[in-house]
Amino acid sequence: MSDIKKFMFVNRKAPYGTIYALESLEVVLITAAFDQDVSLAFLDDGVYQLKKGQQTKGIEIKNFSPTYRALEDYDVEKLYVMKESLDARGLSEDDLVVPVKVLSQAEMGALMDQQDVVLSF
């Protein structure tokens, strides 16, 4: 297929406080179904979406963090997390539910520049 485009989903919101994180995940899965080149970027509070140990029974909202682990089944394997955002929140790669590539701010910016479509959540 010659019309494969590079899609990047930019996630900057914490999970549960708003609907953005879940909506992003839904659109990612839709996009993946169309055999596009999909990347997910996690910046600012978006890195909290990937935090291990989420237990949502008490707030009666579905815990969607296991879905990030299922993304590779949809050939979505490019997950990028910004180092400065992890550091500011006292988090490291070991705190995340999936393997990710940690990028500096500059590297993240360069990667954004390479995309055909950027969707912000």
Binding site: R12, G17, T18, G58, A88, R89
Partner: protein, 98 residues
Amino acid sequence: MLHIVNKSPLVNSSLETCLSVAQGGEILLIEDAVYAATTGSTFEPRLRDALSNFKVYVLQPDLDARGMGDRLLAGVTAVDYSGFVDLTITNNSCQSWL
């Protein structure tokens, strides 16, 4: 007076404004504001300072939902939903910093 904050401290100024304006009393951190009461965040020193002027509470179900149950800052008290209700009753007034 009870101050209720529901926004993350690193991307929104609600909690910072609350801490600057309020002259004491009780603060309840709910929803994304619970991140303010976690260890290792750059906001941690700011909240530590606030503990000398305020009694700070965090809503446990919101902390657990975000996978932060094991990172609660010492000196902050976790409450459940009935504890939330109790705080609204024992205080004369409430301010929600939306």
